[in-house]
């Protein structure tokens, strides 16, 4: 594809419900990242996938957050039992993970609002 795509673009849910956010990285990119950005804030790293290696989950804020990457391509970020503080823009990025010049290409994000 032309770039990283994310769906849905907007999601409104009720407190306590589970949500799934999807990321389609650029074809051929082996690395995939999830970030969270609260209103007016910087980017908070959540999780990183690189090829077939075990994902780096060091940024996940709680065990309610999990992510999968199937077949080394599409990734799903799941938030269980959502809380109001989970409201934010969730950004996905992918890269070639080339050692010399690594550039992350970001998707447009999913805006999550937990009521």
């Amino acid at each position: 594809g032309a770039g990283v795509s994310q769906s849905p673009s907007n999601k409104v849910t009720e407190k306590g419900k589970d949500v799934e956010l999807r990321c389609d990285p650029i074809s051929g990119h082996t690395a995939l990242y999830w970030y969270r950005q609260s209103l007016g804030q910087g980017l908070e790293f959540l999780i990183y996938f690189q090829g077939n290696s075990a994902p780096d989950k060091s940024g996940l804020p709680s065990d309610r957050f999990s992510a999968e990457r199937t077949g080394g391509s599409v990734s799903t970020l799941t938030i269980q039992r959502t809380q109001q503080e989970d409201s934010a823009v969730y950004l996905c990025a992918s890269s070639l993970a080339d050692r010399e010049r690594e550039t992350q290409y970001f998707g447009p994000g999913t805006r999550l609002l937990v009521l």
Binding site: Y35, G42, L43, D56, S95, A97, R101, E102, T103, P108
Partner: protein, 113 residues
Amino acid sequence: LAKTTQPISMDSYEGQEVNITCSHNNIATNDYITWYQQFPSQGPRFIIQGYKTKVTNEVASLFIPADRKSSTLSLPRVSLSDTAVYYCLVATPPNNAGNMLTFGGGTRLMVKP
């Protein structure tokens, strides 16, 4: 852990050169310095990347002193469309440690007519 420090905001006028400095005192030997631009309601976009000295592309220049403890993004002759948030990221490619992927708060650049 190479944390970065940037000014929270800057103002400029159309046609001026803008320099945004990022401090990264704990930069590691293998770390690269990358700058991203983010417009409202969009994901960040790559601007420029460097390791040392000076890098220039069609959009910006990046100046990195010999000690690499800071870097300066230079935007020549800014226009209103350059109003955005600019993030400095210091990390070792390939990014294989989450604690190296902290973008920080960024610098909010406002270009006025």
